[in-house]
């Protein structure tokens, strides 16, 4: 097994989760839980691929994906912020809606080829032993964008004025409201941004990491894994990155397990019984469950909670009489 390659492509796969999960982190920090990431990613993947295919310009595709994800998320924002609907149900219907839209509008795209995001190697950095070939060699642009997103989003959340407001809105909207922070606007904004990130993550699959449109198999549950990752990461971008890349690597690792005849010097069962591959395919989902269990018990121990107002609609004036 080629460990360098496993890690390299693991980072690449993990980037998808990373982008979607950072978007969702921002959304949830404002107090809105959007479970529709899967739907938004599908729409993003479809829009990105379709526009890139039709226009021949992958950058336009990327923009379309971002816009599509963002627009779809506004439906969730409207229903949960203004109509105060249950965020779980709304997120779920967003997934249906996104899946439906992507399948209808993406009809006939299967099997086509579209331009992809260019890959390149970063000089010097790629020379660093081990790390270089894994992290800086022959990656597409979005992977490098992912590297930047992590510190930037962390800085934004913790060290800037808008970030301060974002945290305040998610923790204690009433307090932020009395100080003149517009709760609805903030929540709309970050729900929209989360949608844009999800759309971008979808496009990261369809025009960069695994180019092509394979109907709803394109995303195949990664949106849900991203949502789980946010909980596992305790709403912290650094932990999102850690979890996302780890996930990518493990996923790639399980796929590569089928390759060699010998595994650690023993006969590789996955090589000799191809049906066992289904168990390998289960790995990401089982891992997600384990990560959730582990993440939630760690959070309990360290007293890290979700944003206090997560999932709670804010309405001014009903109280205080």
């Amino acid at each position: 097994m080629n460990w360098i390659e496993i890690f390299r492509s693991g980072i690449s796969t993990g980037t998808v989760l990373l982008i979607a999960a950072i978007g969702e982190t921002l959304t949830e920090r404002s107090g809105i839980q959007n479970l529709g990431v899967e739907g938004m990613m599908l729409v993003g993947a479809m829009a990105g691929f379709k526009v890139a295919y039709q226009s021949g310009n992958v950058w336009l595709g990327l923009l379309a994906a971002i816009a599509a994800g963002g627009l779809l998320s506004l439906a969730h924002a409207l229903v949960t912020i203004h109509f105060q609907a249950d965020q779980t149900v709304s997120g779920l219907s967003l997934t249906f809606l996104g899946t439906g839209l992507a399948l209808v509008l993406g009809d006939g795209l299967t099997g086509m080829t579209a331009p992809v995001i260019p890959s390149f190697t970063i000089p010097l950095l790629s020379q660093v032993p081990y790390l270089g070939p894994v992290a800086f060699a022959n990656h597409n642009l979005l992977v490098y964008v992912g590297y930047l997103l992590v510190p930037l989003s962390w800085y934004y959340i913790h060290k800037t004025r808008p970030g301060l407001h974002l945290r305040a809105v998610g923790e204690n909207p009433a307090a932020a409201d009395t100080l003149g922070v517009n709760i609805y606007r903030t929540r709309y904004l970050y729900t929209f941004i989360g949608g844009c990130f999800a759309g971008l993550a979808g496009a990261a699959i369809s025009v960069a990491i695994a180019p092509g449109w394979y109907s709803n198999l394109t995303v195949n549950g990664q949106g849900w894994i991203a949502v789980a990752l946010v909980i596992f990461a305790h709403w912290n971008p650094w932990r999102v990155a850690l979890g996302g890349y780890l996930f990518g690597v493990l996923r790639r690792f399980t796929l590569d397990l089928q390759g060699p005849r010998l595994l650690f010097g023993l006969a590789n069962p996955f090589f000799f019984n191809t049906n066992l591959v289904f168990f390998l395919q289960m790995a990401p989902y089982i891992l997600t469950i384990i990560a959730l269990i582990w993440g939630s018990s760690a959070a309990r121990k360290k007293r890290i909670g979700s944003p206090a107002a997560l999932g709670v609609p804010y309405q001014r004036g009903e109280r205080g009489l």
């Binding site: 060290k159 004025r161 945290r167 307090a175 009395t178 100080l179 922070v181 007293r303 009489l321």
Partner: protein, 619 residues
């Protein structure tokens, strides 16, 4: 000075200082919420450098009026002038820009952010990047200017309630506010902390700040305010009055507008055998910090044990441990059964009734019918329970009976609980809890937020239970309520029971002291904690009748001093003659009058305690 008689709906007006420009001038403010006229042509004027009290009962519209001033609500009519300039606020931001800031009753703080971060929320500077260090310094300097002690880098959840309040004040000062609104600021403080706050406020007024001080405590208003406006049911009943013109009685009648006689029928009776005993009970709160520390308590038949303490000193946890809603160590014996760490169902089946603090969040299912709420604890008993089925007909008739018996105002028993008013919802909960003939009633803040009439009926219901031999644990932050209802009062501080006082020895000063964690030596008598060691015949619990009369007198005199008394109300007409002011309750019981002694004693105590307090005194 001429006071016009405050007959019910007639307005008392008094104008002065025509030359100065008021800091705040609100004219004819009207605000209607669905179903409620919260403010009805209300006027309010506040001059620079003055502390102006806004007095009124719960729901009189004080907070609403101030929320209009802070831009949170928009009035349907009326105008606001700030320093003579007409303004219209669309959001709190506009009010802040005009130098108005409010300290809400429930603190508006983000728990996991630092003091500085909380203060910076909503400001335009810094524009993007936060340089917290720089702002930490600025805030320290500002705090020093007004004599406020706070660590700007501390997270809010690490601070005490008093410190959190200081953050709120700083938040406003930092915004350059010169008009401060304090919404019942002392409600959450111990008496000594409250004095400290009042000193701070007076200091700020001396530096030219204008302060609106919302309160429903008559004593406190007399202590702090220069001027007074009284609201009753959304209307002004006295505007910009000088406080010298008023006695407590006349204020009370302005505030309440009708005769209020606390005519509670509390019979003398001796406590019976032990019902509840806590042995060495400890528990942690939701943040996993110790909330109860080695608590020992005993409670007997026909006895009301009051639990006094500043909010957040373990009272909620104590109640939750007894009612099975929180895990603990140690033993909780109810009628000889250890109910510690048993599920709530167990203690319910052994005769425990619980009147929870949070009526809407815990005590009821808001979207379910009155019937469904009534049967919450007896759906598993005959006649409501029929094998696997629930007999809704029997349930409805049960609910109907209780609705009549407890006078719950609702169209019918199918009405959803959320449509009931606060008082009726509380009656519903009492009906459910008390109709099951409980052995022990645990009541937490049973009268908070209710109007006067409802308070009285709730208190009477508790006393009736006591007369029937029920043991009652009454947790309240209203000292008056505790003093008038309890047979014994246990004071809690930081999870400890600091001491227990029998009704004969009630002394508001001492209780106030104990609420800040001091154990007065003279209280370490057989009547304190140690009496829980068991003997039912303990004389201090069953007070001899002669002594009991004294106690009643004492309690009564206290009530008279702090709430409207009969004399005041006999004359629905007003206290015209200022001479009545000179007729303080001290005449009735000169030595015991709490208020007279209070100021001097406490001033001394505060000095001592204030120091101790800042050293982080934890026993």
């Amino acid at each position: 000075m001429r006071a016009i008689s405050p007959i019910k709906d007639e307005l008392m007006t008094f104008t002065e200082e025509p030359n100065a420009i008021p800091a705040v001038e609100m004219r004819d403010i009207t605000l209607r919420f669905p179903g409620v006229l919260a403010n009805d042509h209300v006027n309010f004027t506040l001059y620079p450098g003055e502390i102006h009290a806004l007095l009124g009962e719960n729901g009189a519209g004080k907070s609403t009026l101030m929320n209009v001033l802070t831009g949170l609500y928009k009035p349907q009519s009326g105008e606001i002038r700030i320093h003579g300039k007409k303004v219209s606020f669309n959001s709190p931001r506009d009010a802040i820009a005009n130098g108005i800031g409010m300290v809400h009753q429930h603190f508006m703080l983000v728990e996991n952010q630092t003091v500085t971060e909380n203060i910076l929320i909503g400001l335009d500077t810094p524009h993007f990047a936060l340089n917290l260090k720089k702002f930490d310094h600025e805030i320290s300097d500002l705090a020093d200017q007004f004599g406020i002690h706070i660590d700007p880098t501390a997270k809010i959840w690490q601070l005490s309630v008093g410190e959190q309040q200081r953050v709120e004040i700083l938040k406003i000062l930092y915004r350059g506010a010169n008009i401060l609104i304090m919404d019942e600021p002392t409600a959450v403080l111990a008496p000594q902390e409250a004095d400290e706050l009042i000193e701070t406020l007076k200091g700020m007024a001396a530096q030219g700040k204008s302060i609106a001080f919302i309160s429903h405590k008559l004593n406190e208003v007399k202590q702090v305010a220069d001027k007074l406006t009284v609201l009753r049911r959304g209307r002004v009943t006295a505007e910009r009055m000088d406080l010298e013109n008023f006695t407590r009685e006349s204020l009370a009648s302005l505030m309440v507008g009708r005769e209020v006689i606390f005519n509670l029928q509390k019979c003398e009776q001796t406590a019976g055998r032990e019902v509840l005993r806590l042995e060495d009970v400890s528990a942690v709160n939701n943040k996993n910090l110790p909330a109860l520390r080695n608590v020992d308590l005993a409670l007997h038949e026909g006895e009301i044990l009051g639990i006094a303490g500043v909010a957040g000193n373990g009272q909620s946890e104590l109640v939750e441990v007894i009612t099975g809603l929180r895990e603990c160590t140690g033993n909780v014996w109810l009628e000889g059964k250890n109910i510690a760490n048993k599920p709530p169902a167990f203690s319910i089946s052994h005769g425990l009734a619980h009147i929870p603090e949070d009526r809407i969040g815990v005590g009821s299912a808001p979207n379910l019918s009155l019937t469904s709420n009534i049967i919450m604890k007896r759906y598993d008993q005959k006649p409501v329970s029929q094998k696997w089925q629930l007999d809704y007909v029997a349930a409805d008739s049960l609910a109907d009976g209780l609705k009549t018996e407890y006078d719950i105002q609702a169209p019918n028993v199918q009405t959803q609980a959320r449509k009931l008013s606060g008082g009726n919802l509380q009656k519903l909960i009492l009906a459910r809890e008390l109709s099951s003939a409980p052995r022990l009633v645990v009541a937490m803040q049973p009268t908070r937020g209710l109007d006067v009439g409802a308070i009285e009926s709730v208190q009477q219901l508790l006393l009736n239970q006591r007369a029937q031999g029920c043991a009652i644990l009454l947790v309240s932050e209203d000292l008056d309520e505790l003093l008038s209802l309890s047979d014994r009062i246990a004071v809690m501080y930081e999870g400890h029971v600091v001491g227990t006082i029998c009704s004969g020895d009630f002394d508001i000063n001492q209780i106030g002291l104990m609420m800040t964690g001091t154990i007065p030596q003279d209280l370490k008598s057989p009547s304190s904690v140690e009496d829980s060691s068991g003997s039912n015949e303990n004389s201090s619990i069953s007070a001899p009748s002669s002594r009991f009369d004294e106690v009643l007198d004492h309690v009564k005199s206290f009530e008279e001093s702090s709430s409207p008394s009969e004399e005041a109300d006999q004359s629905v007409t007003p206290p015209e003659e200022p001479s009545e002011e000179d007729l303080p309750p001290s005449e009735i019981l000169p030595e015991e009058d709490p208020e007279l002694n209070l100021s001097e004693k406490e001033r001394v105590l505060r000095k001592v305690l204030g120091e101790k307090y800042q050293q982080g005194d934890v026993e």
